[in-house]
Subunit: 387 residues, 2 copies
Amino acid sequence: MRSVSVIGAGLSKFGERWETSFRELIYEASLNAMEDARIEGKDIQALYGGSMAPGRLIGQEHIGALIADQLGLNPIPSVRVEAACASGGVALRQAYHAIASDAYDIVAVGGVEKMTEVSTEEVATALGGAGDQEWELFLGATFPAIYALMARRHMLEYGTTEEQMALCSVKNHANAVHNPYAQYRKAISVEQVMESGYIAEPLKLLDCSPITDGAAALILCASDMAKKYSDTPIHIAASAQASDTLALDDRRTLSALEATRYAAKEAFKQAKMTPKDIPLAEVHDCFSIAEIMAIEDLGFFKKGKGGKAVQDGETQLNSRLSINTSGGLKACGHPVGATGIKQAVEITWQLRQQAGKRQVANAEVGLAHNVGGSGATAVVHIFKRGD
Amino acid sequence: MRSVSVIGAGLSKFGERWETSFRELIYEASLNAMEDARIEGKDIQALYGGSMAPGRLIGQEHIGALIADQLGLNPIPSVRVEAACASGGVALRQAYHAIASDAYDIVAVGGVEKMTEVSTEEVATALGGAGDQEWELFLGATFPAIYALMARRHMLEYGTTEEQMALCSVKNHANAVHNPYAQYRKAISVEQVMESGYIAEPLKLLDCSPITDGAAALILCASDMAKKYSDTPIHIAASAQASDTLALDDRRTLSALEATRYAAKEAFKQAKMTPKDIPLAEVHDCFSIAEIMAIEDLGFFKKGKGGKAVQDGETQLNSRLSINTSGGLKACGHPVGATGIKQAVEITWQLRQQAGKRQVANAEVGLAHNVGGSGATAVVHIFKRGD
């Protein structure tokens, strides 16, 4: 298996991009990544793109071809991958395999979602397709309700509190203040989270990630050629993915994501590391409870101790383990198909020491954790400075 | 790059499967493929699935996880790929790269579409997402209209006739009579095609592939292990893909699919073959004119001579070049996400000499050609008997 590195990373601005189309978002992020890698279109041999629900959100499928078209990169192959909110992470994995297999030397991988062209209700229904349509969505269970069930169970089993969950949002907003691409560059307080209205008890408005337009892109290169393009290539030390049941009611537990556990175990094995080696991680905080479960299921904290760790400040910037320096899904924004790639972009910037006021000191290794639906897909990538 | 072979192939029955759900279709095809490969679920290390528009057709995304769930194969990774009607072919290519990269030894790849749960108008709109939503579908151009433009241009440039197009449908129906999985096992005459009503002039009802429910599955294995599972493994000698503009009006020509030409050129290079080496091909006949363009663009006949070749019977079963022995999209049916895999299943059966009354004598090599939209994606695979 040939080794693979990141040589370029770029984002579009995240937010409610009323005047920017799906195509333009892709273009914005891709151009940034290509300029960052100092390559031209002709250097790219294949494209991979993650997008969750463009059919329902903008009436468009065939997103791979659209990306190649928009970037003027025909006739190279272009592939769309969909794995709900893990579409980006899974797309990254396909791009990684394509280079590892020796089919290509340089590929681009992106993620994109344009979520503001339909009503909030239509967005909720489209996102509901990430769960089990027959057994959850049809019966009225949208995603806040599904994660609320997990939160209730976590509170019951481990004594996790609403304040601890709120503190995830507070931390992520504090990090986003320093991220120029973030949707919400605005600090919030625990009181503000606690006073925001319930969406699905115990989850309140400020426990939930927002509806976001945005795109993210990476340029990957065979590691043996990466130095030609980048002074600080970032090596992909592990790429792992796991599945769980689509519907929550089929699971053995509601207070953990077993797919995250499997993917993390496999990733640490590939990278020959343990959770202790990771000073920096972007984890999938679609809801605040998801961040608490993630830091447990990834092995950073013991099961049930995630809430306490957040409360004790152990996940703050430059503490024991810097979690979601980008602002996470909550404050940087969550354009669902783009999120997995955005996480990898943030880790790339951090490992290159380019993260400005949100820089984690001396970070050499970072992890990205991307979840689809209520955990039916989980993807874990580990990145390492050096080729 | 590690060599990859097919060790198992299976289909669901194609047709209007009113009483069979999306999940059940996948299950039916996958079980047939697994039994054919004489493997159990625990032998499969990863899953790949092609599906075009389940979000709009059944309200469900996150199809990778759904497949793993339905087959009881959690926690292995599962990936959904979408490339409009080329979703199956592109998924096959991802599965191929995954083994070639040494990430896995045995993977399953499937394709599925459930198209009969919404109205015909809703299906047409969903399929329209394969083209350019902003520049084609929004202005009223559904797919029959788009292919009608290509047909008109082909007629103008090369003198291709409506009767020649009709003969593609007649041949494909004749082949489907011998295919127990086909939607229409019924011979039709040129007169019947000519008398069927115009859908978009010059294309008539019987020039168009139908709306179909169906699924198809393959088991792939590293070639060096394939003999353990199959007496007649089928080697994947080439896997190539190319892109073109999403919208027809951006193309240099309307009478050819340039993506098919690029993908074919690349595939023949990989396989170290020429079109003359191919006695058997499944080509993408979503409309009869598409079959005529395909046999030209793949290099089997000179540009503009496809219609004449069909008229002269050169593409009939066991003639110079047996085209669409399965019955093609026209008569076997076109569950869009499944089609690319179904083509590979048919080639596998043919190369194993298991195709019954539609068997091509002594076929050692076969080609599968899968197109997305109006040609913005084309995928070409070449298969060869032997490991």
